[in-house]
């Protein structure tokens, strides 16, 4: 006898509703497998995002039973506990349709935080030697594996309360760059993350750390930015 999962999936835009499906249970079945089954066998109009299916690309994040998760690496058995599966789009972002949300603002805030590498050398210069064991490099490495999935942004209370807040992912990236000795954009970046909605708006709830699928700690990165900006301000380097 085939056992099934009772699955509710968000359909439509912001004014949509959950639709109910029965999906055959499989061994080692992921939440993404369930969504894919619904689209291929039950309703081809279901919209969702995915690409790599192995936790590299950050495309398939959704809200699963109330918690933001990467669905390709989340086993159904881990989240249902034998009960129902409720799958919705990520919070804190406008819904485009079904499980696809609009991540424009999420990525625009990366730009607003100046979270891009500013090179200090040209291609004619020799390759810079970076020691892996300096405190700055260790701090940068601790936050570098972000896959831009938006899970931290969806989990963050401050993002929900403060529209201007840049969010954990953008600030985490700013922190890794601040610790990259090859980067030359620190002054502008520190200014950008110290404006309204910058690192000082973080309330340290640490939801970003609790939900990051790559076990990063953006809250620690933001605390680092707070220290760095405060120190620069007291030294008169940040006007």
């Amino acid at each position: 006898m085939t056992t099934t999962h009772k699955v509710s999936i968000w359909r439509g835009g912001a004014d949509g509703a959950y639709a109910h499906y029965e999906v055959p249970a499989r061994e080692s079945q992921t939440v993404l497998d369930v969504v894919t089954y619904v689209q291929r066998h039950l309703d081809p109009t279901l919209t969702y995002r995915f690409a790599c299916r192995v936790g590299m690309c950050g495309s398939c994040a959704m809200t699963v039973n109330g918690v933001p998760r990467w669905t390709c690496r989340t086993h159904v058995s881990k989240v249902t506990g034998g009960g129902e599966l409720k799958i919705g789009p990520l919070s804190n972002m406008p819904i485009i349709k079904d499980l696809a949300c609009d991540m424009t603002e999420f990525f625009e805030k990366w730009q607003k935080a100046q979270s891009r590498f500013v090179p200090t050398k040209t291609r004619k210069d020799p390759m810079e030697r970076i020691r892996p064991d300096t405190p700055a490099r260790v701090a940068a490495n601790a936050g570098i594996e972000c896959i831009n999935c938006g899970v931290c942004y969806a989990a963050c209370d401050t993002v929900a309360w403060n529209q201007d807040y840049l969010g954990p992912a953008a600030l985490n990236r700013a922190w890794t760059l601040a610790n990259d000795e090859r980067d030359g954009g620190w002054a502008e970046r520190l200014k950008a993350v110290s404006q309204n909605g910058g690192c000082h708006s973080c309330r340290s709830h640490q939801s970003c750390e609790a939900h990051c699928p790559n076990q990063l700690n953006p809250a620690a990165s933001i605390a680092g930015l707070k220290r760095l900006s405060t120190s620069a301000y007291l030294k008169g380097k940040l006007k």
């Binding site: 110290s194 309204n196 000082h200």
Partner: protein, 109 residues
Amino acid sequence: MRPLRLYLVQRVTAAIMVPLVFLHLGLILYAVQGGLSAQEILSRTQGSVFWGGIYGLFVLCASFHVSIGLANILQEWTPLKRIAAANIAHTFALIVMLLGFRAVYAVVF
């Protein structure tokens, strides 16, 4: 750099208030040992520049600290915009300061 300055003021005032709270708690434990009466407390605090300074500093720090936090909460939890939230927070700070200094005045002078 307004958010950074507010952040800094809130942290500095918190850092000042922590030892003052412990000093206050220690004083309570010390004071109640011989029985507690208004007359006994006033006999120690009246005319004391030290206790006036300690509690005056606490009132000042609390007014700044609380109003910055209140402005943040109002902006995040209500539809109020920054200016409106700041106005309410400023008024609240003024009230806390007035009530606090009135209490300090009452026990020191």
